[in-house]
Amino acid sequence: MKTTNRSYRGKFRAALERGKTISRVALVGALVLCSVSVALAQVYGVRRTAVVRGPNTTVVASRTTVVAGGTALPHGYIAALPGGYRAVVVSGARYYTVGGVYYRPQIYGGRTVYVRVHI
């Protein structure tokens, strides 16, 4: 009978081990599946707010969207042409001019932006 009890215990331990193994496999599987999904830097097409932190990790400012992508355009770039612009072709490339200032169009953040150039 001792043998029978040992056999029960053995079976119970084996079942326990199997359960643990299944749990581990499930956990690893879940982690792998999670890592496959896409982590976007945007929420519904809107750039996440870039939080600027001060020296004591306190939030001192939050950047807001200026163009698609949420980052502020550097000086010299504009998201929309001023009124009254006209298109000109210089050396086969299209530029826009208004008030003596020339702009070259580029696509940034999925939209057209304009960079100021000297011609």
Partner: protein, 295 residues
């Protein structure tokens, strides 16, 4: 006193474990009974009130469609509109052919543009200005969306809903999910979910019958004035016949090719601009770039 001769033969430890075995068997039977009862319960009473389960079901429904097309009426508050600081109403038509093609056409009051992705390249066409840019982007829709996001700093409108695993993309952002009951949205009975995330709190309405997204209102709580994005989904077709040609941009003669600027290039330009002293950058004072407080 009569004694059972067989009982004497039984070892003591056997009797000791008998109640334990009985208890174990009883627990197993109780568990089995509980499980069978749970399985017998109609799915509607549990799953339909579980926001996570509803999100999964919506995700599965979208992911299972090899081809799909839908329309979105999107309203963006001014603070979320790129550079213009005016609210934007746009009608967006999206067509998807899994695993590697999509097309999005956006018509707003002052701009019409299209995004083409055919598994090999991404093209942005500014229909209003007759300009386009193309960049090599190879892979599935999920890979393309991730690359576009990383390299070019944007995603197609409401990209979360066209990915292979919308649940994965949405749930990564979410902190809490709550079921708010049913509501009628544009004549369609919908489950109303309230979703909270670091960046935006969202209300999502999912059709009770078709489990498709019907409306989304996202409030960007970290932005000044808590601006909102509102998207109303319609014209769902999970079996559209889509011509492969629609995913590849072919430029007309009067359309000019321009450069597509990467996020890195723009950051570099910004760094140069911030490093340069005002005197060395005569454009700085004259350039009409609008910047908001705190930027």
């Amino acid at each position: 006193m009569l004694k059972n001769p067989r009982a004497e033969q039984r070892p003591v430890h056997h009797c000791k474990f008998r109640p334990l075995l009985f208890c174990f068997t009883f627990i197993l039977l109780a568990l089995a009974l509980a499980c069978s009862r749970a399985a017998e319960q109609p799915a509607t009473t549990t799953a339909n009130n579980d926001p996570d389960q509803l999100l999964r079901q919506m995700s599965e429904k979208l992911a299972q469609a090899k081809n799909l097309s839908f329309k979105v009426d999107r309203k963006l508050d001014a603070a979320l509109v790129e550079g213009r600081n005016v609210a934007e109403n746009a009608v967006i038509e999206i067509s998807v052919s899994r695993p590697g093609k999509f097309h999005a056409k956006s018509d707003s009051t002052d701009n019409a543009r299209q995004i083409f992705f055919d598994g090999q390249s991404l093209s942005i066409y500014d229909q209003t200005m007759k300009l386009y840019a193309t960049a090599p982007v190879v892979g599935s829709i999920d890979e393309a969306v991730a690359k576009i996001d990383e390299i070019y700093g944007f995603t197609p409108p409401l990209a979360e809903f066209i990915l292979g695993d919308p649940y994965g993309a949405l749930s990564k952002q979410l902190k809490t999910k709550a079921y708010k009951g049913t509501e009628n949205i544009g004549g369609v009975e919908c489950h109303h979910l309230s979703l909270s995330a670091d960046e935006a709190d969202s209300e999502l309405w999912i059709g009770t019958d078709d489990l498709l997204p019907r409306k989304l209102v996202a409030t960007f709580k970290n932005r000044e004035g808590n601006p909102q994005l509102q998207a109303v989904f319609s014209n769902w077709n999970l079996t559209p016949i889509l011509d492969d040609k629609m995913f590849t941009f072919v430029a007309a003669n009067d359309v000019e090719k321009i450069e597509m600027i990467t996020e890195a290039q723009m950051k570099e330009a910004a760094a140069k601009e911030s490093d340069a002293p005002d005197s060395a950058n005569p454009q700085k004072s004259a350039t009409p770039v609008t910047r908001k407080k705190g930027t």
